[in-house]
Symmetry: C2
Subunit: 222 residues, 2 copies
DNA sequence: CTTTAAAGTAACTAATTAGTTACTTTACTC
DNA sequence: GAGTAAAGTAACTAATTAGTTACTTTAAAG
């Protein structure tokens, strides 16, 4: 069947292409709206309107609202999968590795507000959906970091009594909350919290806190 | 009028008492349910049922769903008002003061899950309601802390280049996120994150991070 | 004991919204 | 270019839910 050249369209099936494009547009609109309003506040009709595609097709492509939401989560968690595999530690100093990992995470959040918000809705919903969607993505984050920290401890740069999980929790907290609670904290500042300078200032503060917290002060011991 | 003893009931108006009690029961149920489901997910009928009081009375006492929600927020923010005024710094060392303030905040959150969740819903809703409700409660928190830190800087215990707002943000982040993201992070631990030992362990980790981050290492300088 | 006003109830209304159905358009296949 | 299967549309349905109305019960006051 595949051998028959006449049956294979030169440029891949225009209809198929169109439908893939539609699916993608629905997913993009859904990401924006679910991130903005949360799974409860988001309206299927609004997503249809924003994507410019009829509601009927949302059900054709994704089944129902909940599955669409799950798909949005999946595609967004994939982004951090990609990040955590990329940020793998080379043979730099532990401090450099930690700095690089935190910086990567911080700027990932800065550039992916949808991710920040989606994961926050999830946290409030007890991870109801996340559990179905992701094969324990927290573990991945830990694994990536675990290596850095264990290396650091062996090379006597990092205090051995440190609990990696606590440190991870803290890094997550320090980075996420900046974007998470931005609007509630904005009154304290004059500047836009998302300007380049403010972002760098925040990241620098976080790095100071983290490294001074987990590293011996002064040079490596022994 | 008040002089006529016969007209003044001995035990204060039983009806009035009953209605105050009803109002309180509605507010308590609303707090639980708004905290659990958020302003969008919460159902007025559910609140009525949980409080054991007819829906009609919710509208009689509070006007509508939104005003009830605002009232829930108000009563919960009041708790932290009370906290921030109580935790005022005496003439202890700056490090002791910071430690005490952070500990008070941390255990306040541990004991008030409703507060944690309500403020998280608010953060995701851009503080829509908070702005109406609270006369900038963040400011209060800052003021309480500002004194401690300025004292610390003057007495050369705290680095002068520290940005108090960043530190406040970080303390909030480190404490809140523990309760906030508890369910998503739970997979990393075997123990219950809310047990007495785990709470103390987390608080200790936070204190290490904060104090090592903002204090000179070693003794006070000059 | 009767009047009265507020507390409380149950059943209703109007609006919203997830999901469906019956129909039309488009473009691939022969 | 005729047949067909999928993409797409618009109008509908059923369920939910915020808010209301017309009515009953309770207890304070003369």
């Amino acid at each position: 069947m595949e051998g028959n050249a006449r049956k294979v369209p030169l440029n891949r099936n225009r209809r198929e292409q169109r439908s893939e494009e539609s699916r993608a547009r629905i997913l993009a609109a859904a990401t924006t709206i679910f991130a903005e309003k949360g799974p409860d506040g988001a309206r299927v009709d609004e997503i249809a309107k924003a994507s410019g595609i009829n509601k009927r097709m949302i059900y054709a492509y994704f089944g129902n609202k909940e599955e669409l939401y799950a798909e949005v989560l999946r595609s967004n968690y994939n982004k951090i999968y990609a990040l955590s595999t990329k940020a793998v530690d080379l043979k730099r100093t532990p401090k450099e590795n930690v700095t690089r990992a935190v910086r990567a995470y911080f700027y990932f959040l800065a550039e992916n507000e949808a991710f920040v918000r989606l994961s926050s809705w999830e946290a409030l919903n007890g991870g109801r959906f996340s559990r179905k969607v992701l094969p324990s993505f927290v573990d991945l984050l830990v694994l990536a970091f675990d290596d850095i920290v264990k290396d650091g401890i062996q090379r006597k740069f990092i205090r051995p009594n440190i609990d990696i999980r606590q440190v991870l929790f803290s890094i997550q907290a320090l980075c996420l909350t900046y974007f998470n609670r931005r609007e509630l904290m904005q009154p304290l500042w004059q500047e836009d919290l998302l300007s380049g300078e403010m972002l760098e200032a925040r990241l620098q503060h976080i790095l100071d806190l983290i490294t001074d917290g987990i590293f011996y002060h002064g040079e490596a011991v022994e």
